[in-house]
């Protein structure tokens, strides 16, 4: 009960920032000129801060944080037995060694880089990130990871209407997470976690570690890898924590940098 009150308070704390937006429809770019702010320079600077990282492919250099050797040593390539294999995971598997599925680490590297990059950008823009895992073995680890990043975690029983009925379960106008990170996409009875489907319903992108017995279809940025071994889960938690902290530090840096230049009309 106390936990729910805490999350309610934490959700309410973050306030959304007004930002000038550009969106494309059928290839045309249209700038929303209707937002008139008293300080057009601040908005321009804010827009520049937000658009600059999108130009480079790895602005936060997340690919430096891990290597294939690290993934191998953390036993990320070990999947479940052949009988547990999910049909949709077959493209991500390297092969089957004596009935145990081996996940293709080359593919995992690419997916992990995409996923960490996405997480970094969301954290940079001040998005709310929710870590979800229903594995009791790692529940404490996930909660401490979330605490150390300054983000949120939900590793307990998922009540039905947490996302879909948030306006009634919490309060009207509550801010929902902008990204949900699954350290394990299954719940305790080896079925797909309800949060995955609910996030898709509420148009929230998801990043998730999918093992060889998981369904990767609804996960926006799947990371094929082992979700059972403690070494592997510790690696994922460490990587997510480092990316989020890096992104937030970068944001603070950019704001300070541009905060110094806002008074002068000729901003860099």
């Amino acid at each position: 009960m106390a936990f729910r009150a805490l999350t309610k308070g934490l959700f309410g704390l973050r306030h959304s920032r007004g930002v000038t937006v550009k969106y494309s429809c059928d290839g045309h770019f249209a700038t929303a000129a209707s937002i008139q702010s008293p300080q057009p320079q601040t908005d321009d600077v804010k827009e520049k801060i937000l658009q600059l990282p999108l130009k480079s492919p790895d602005y936060f250099r997340v690919s430096e944080l891990f290597s294939l050797k690290d993934l191998f040593n953390a036993r990320v390539h070990l999947g479940h037995k052949q009988g547990c294999r999910h049909r949709l995971m077959e493209p991500y598997l390297y092969g089957c060694r004596l009935d145990q599925d081996i996940i293709d680490l080359d593919q995992t590297m690419e997916h992990l880089q995409l996923a960490l990059n996405f997480t970094a950008h969301i954290a940079y823009r001040g998005g709310v990130i929710l870590f979800v895992s229903r594995r009791r073995q790692f529940c404490h680890l996930v909660e401490t990871t979330a605490k150390e990043c300054g983000e949120y975690a939900h590793t307990r029983y998922w009540q039905g209407g947490l996302l879909t009925n948030a306006n009634i379960q919490y309060s009207p106008g509550v801010r929902l997470p902008d990204l949900i990170v699954f350290l394990s996409t299954l719940n305790n009875v080896f079925q797909q976690h309800v949060a995955l489907r609910d996030a898709a319903k509420m148009n929230i992108p998801t990043v998730g570690v999918v093992d060889s017995n998981c369904n990767p279809s609804l996960v926006t940025y799947p990371i094929p890898g082992n979700d059972d071994t403690p070494v592997a889960v510790e690696l994922y938690c460490r990587l997510f924590k480092m990316t989020i902290n890096r992104a937030k530090d970068k944001r603070r840096q950019m704001e300070l940098l541009h905060g110094l230049f806002t008074p002068t009309p000729s901003s860099s």
Partner: protein, 150 residues
């Protein structure tokens, strides 16, 4: 606020993009992740895939079995010597087991000499014995027929 709860139709991105194009979702309500997804889309679109309820009885899996050339030697080793004299030390990542030493010695001898397999196996066993590793031959019991007791 506008939303679309149809998780089985299109992807998260396509739904939000279409909501904004049609004007149902205002530009001010654009989600934070929209630009990021546009700039860095995932490798495969997260479309909902319906799982087939009726599957093939004889399923053809596209996942190849992983076998190496040394597995033949390993198979021979485990058949003749059982599990080996030393247990595996899993905490050490550079650990070389008895079987692996056998395989390494075998491949070394094979590159030097032109003998056939069975002779090579015996040579390897002798070579390992000289290095100090004793290999106990596993006694292979013939299948005993159980006489019915009336």
């Amino acid at each position: 606020m506008a939303g679309s709860r149809l998780e089985r139709v299109g992807t998260v991105f396509s739904r939000v993009r279409d909501l904004m194009c049609s004007g149902v979702m205002k530009p001010a309500d654009k989600p934070i992740w929209f630009d990021v997804y546009e700039a860095f889309p995932p490798k495969k679109e997260p479309l909902y895939v319906k799982t087939k309820t009726r599957t093939f009885v004889n399923k053809q899996s596209n996942v190849p079995a992983i076998f190496y050339a040394e597995d033949k030697v390993r198979a021979w080793f485990y058949e003749h010597y059982g599990t080996g004299s030393r247990s595996f030390d899993l905490s050490n990542s550079n650990f070389v087991s008895v079987c692996q030493r056998f395989v390494l010695k075998y491949s070394e001898l094979k590159s030097h000499s032109e003998l056939e397999d069975s002779a090579l196996y015996e040579m390897t066993a002798k070579a390992l014995l000289s290095e100090g590793i004793t290999l106990k031959q596993r006694a292979r019991h013939p299948v005993e027929s159980i006489e019915p007791v009336f």
